[in-house]
């Protein structure tokens, strides 16, 4: 029977990692997600798993590379500055097609920034992040429950596509406590014939690399990755819609912003404003097509983000000029209230209505 607990997002994610058969966690302390390493340092050894505090995020991600290359379920987590440090390793993981789970509990930036929640890492997360042509599968939880659920999903998708998966959370979802139910999950049998575990006589040697020094071979590898990303775009788009059926206006928001927008939507509906909420769950692949369909029956969309306007570019790509796409955001770890968002919506309604 599934167990329900009251837990912090970060700890729920850590517990889910154990249940998801995560063989190894490598991490480095950084606010607001140090609980993950603390929780796993305590719990992983009880399950015979590997947990290690590395000397840096650079080391963490490369330990993940080694463990993933040996065919194990490996993960790391960090927050924005630490994730920046990992970008080199993430690019190598993507290039070498190694499955793993990386969690970014996003704080506000740039630079050292602040420890409060932010969504300023949207571009970094969804457009590559490190050097070269690659994408991560990006999952955006908006509840403690999803921080747990997306660990299972993340590992499964990573293994399915041999690609790193990034869970893009934030300092609020990671820190807040909510009910969480750990659904039964069966860890899939390991089937990684490419893993470097020692070469038996019965097969050719395996090697993990992202190096293809001949441009002809590099291009073939790039094309192979692109074909994979195309498949991911076709099969893995996930989103949630609330009240979009009769909506004249749509909030587009992910993660924490989506939660605030949900309340804003309720307030606006009480005032008789027909507004819905569209919440992308996968930020890559992005639900462009569904946004395009929704644009046919919507007056305008409002992208609400905790940054200076990043996802709004993808909303516009999806809508492709059919209707106006507006942006509203707070920065620096500050959050908009639901009332702020409703006020912005009403202002925009007036503006667009008067045209």
């Amino acid at each position: 029977m599934a167990e329900t607990k009251l837990m912090k997002g970060n700890e729920a994610m850590a517990e889910a990692a154990i249940l998801a058969g995560c063989d190894a966690y490598f991490g480095y302390p950084i606010t607001p997600q140090s609980e993950v390493l603390e929780y796993l340092a305590r719990e992983m050894p009880k399950h015979g798993r590997v947990v290690m505090q590395a000397e840096s995020e650079v080391a963490s991600i490369n330990m993940v590379y080694g463990a993933a290359g040996a065919g194990f379920r490996a993960m790391t987590s960090s927050s924005s500055p630490g994730i920046s440090l990992m970008q080199e390793g993430i690019s190598y993981l993507a290039g070498a097609e190694l499955p793993c789970l990386i969690v970014n509990v996003n704080r506000a930036g740039p630079g050292l920034g602040t420890i409060q929640p932010g969504q300023g890492d949207y571009f970094q997360s969804t457009k590559g992040g490190g050097h070269g042509d690659y994408r991560l599968i990006v999952l955006a939880p908006s509840s403690v429950q999803e921080m747990a659920d997306f660990v299972y999903l993340g590992f499964d998708l990573a293994d399915k596509y041999r690609n790193p998966v990034l869970m893009l959370s934030d300092g609020a979802i990671g820190q807040m406590m909510e009910k969480v139910t750990f659904h039964p999950y069966t860890v899939p049998e390991k089937n990684k014939p490419w893993a470097t575990v020692g070469k038996p006589e019965t097969r050719e040697r395996n090697y993990i690399t992202s190096l293809f020094i001949q441009p002809e071979r590099m291009e073939v590898h790039n094309q192979k990755l692109e074909a994979k990303f195309k498949q991911i775009r076709e099969n893995e788009v996930r989103f949630e819609e609330i009240n979009t059926d009769d909506a004249e206006y749509i909030f587009v928001a992910y993660g924490l912003s989506a939660r605030i927008c949900q309340k804003a939507m309720d307030l606006a509906r009480e005032k008789g404003i027909k507004v819905g909420l569209f919440r992308p769950i996968t930020l890559f692949p992005y639900p462009y097509q569904r946004l395009n369909e929704l644009a046919d029956k919507t007056k305008f969309m409002l992208s609400v983000e905790l940054n200076s306007g990043q996802m709004v570019e993808d909303v516009r790509l999806g809508v492709n000029g059919k209707i106006p796409v507006e942006f509203f955001g707070r920065l620096g770890g500050m959050l908009p209230t639901p009332e702020d968002i409703v006020h912005q919506l009403e202002t925009l309604m007036q503006h667009h209505g008067n045209r």
């Binding site: 190894a24 000397e55 330990m63 590379y65 040996a70 020692g198 040697r205």
Partner: protein, 274 residues
């Protein structure tokens, strides 16, 4: 670097086909775990020789199916093209972190990194030092030729005082860049290091000692008692702007002044008990 697609047509085969067992005694052959291709290394370079020594040890110990190697960024980035074992190619300097990830998940495998001086002693010194400080049960093969090879001869952390490189055209000025890092001495101070030795392969005698050191280091992994670091002074004729013969002499005449050869840390008899 021209190509990685290498063919065996112009290399001596592992077993000379003209030799019939009854007529000749086989005294030397390619290690079975070496891939039968010609290497991209320059004439007189130490890498090919050290690759072979490692593979000889793997052969003799019969551990091909239990060994995972980690290649660096540098001239030996293609080590996995030559070593017929499972390998991972690490980002520049990160080999010891990658090896940590492998070894911690598979403690009974033999895991080694193969790294140059730029990779290990410059960009990767943090990963190296911390891996050794944790006493990771891995072997670090450290190829020290005092220059960046793959990028054609820039100054390394191990470049000798006064040694000319493309980025120290007037010779390494220690008042500006500091003195060369003596990696083995530095790492031997860490309790996590179990066996630290510095060898050279410019003479047959050194080759034999180097092989013995590698053999010791592989065997010590079975003890799970700490990190083995085998530093090997490599000859780099191309970037030293020397003939292979001159480069071999340079090791004796100059390199060993800064990097004296021999064991730096050896396990005591009681440490060798399982």
């Amino acid at each position: 670097m021209e190509t990685v697609e290498l063919t065996s047509s112009d290399v001596m085969p592992a077993v000379a086909p003209a030799c019939k067992q009854e007529e000749f005694e086989m005294v030397y052959h390619r290690p079975a775990t070496m891939v039968d291709v010609s290497m991209h290394y320059c004439p007189g370079c130490a890498h090919s020789l050290v690759h072979k020594l490692i593979m000889e040890v793997v052969d003799e110990m019969g551990i091909q199916d239990k060994t995972v190697g980690v290649a660096p960024v540098g001239c030996s980035v293609f080590a996995y093209d030559y070593m017929n074992i499972d390998m991972q190619e690490a980002a520049h300097g990160r080999a010891c972190a990658v090896a940590t990830g492998i070894k911690r998940l598979m403690p009974d495998k033999y895991v080694f990194t193969y790294q140059g001086d730029g990779d290990l002693a410059a960009i990767g010194i943090a990963e190296t030092l911390h891996a050794i400080n944790r006493g990771e049960n891995i072997l670090i093969v450290f190829m020290n030729n005092a220059v960046y090879g793959m990028t054609s001869g820039q100054m390394a952390p191990t470049t000798l005082p006064g040694m000319k490189t493309t980025t120290s055209p007037d010779g390494r000025d220690v008042s500006f860049y500091g003195a060369p890092i003596k990696v083995s001495e530095l790492m031997s101070a860490l309790p996590g290091s179990f066996y630290v030795t510095r060898q050279a392969v410019n003479h047959a005698n050194g080759v034999r000692k180097t092989k013995k050191a590698l053999e010791n280091a592989f065997k010590y992994q079975q003890l799970h008692k700490g990190t083995c670091l085998v530093e090997i002074i490599g000859n780099c004729p191309s970037n030293w702007k020397m003939t292979p013969v001159e480069a071999a002499a340079f090791v004796d005449d100059e390199m060993v002044k800064t990097f004296p050869l021999g064991d730096i840390k050896v396990p005591k008899a009681e440490d060798l008990k399982p």
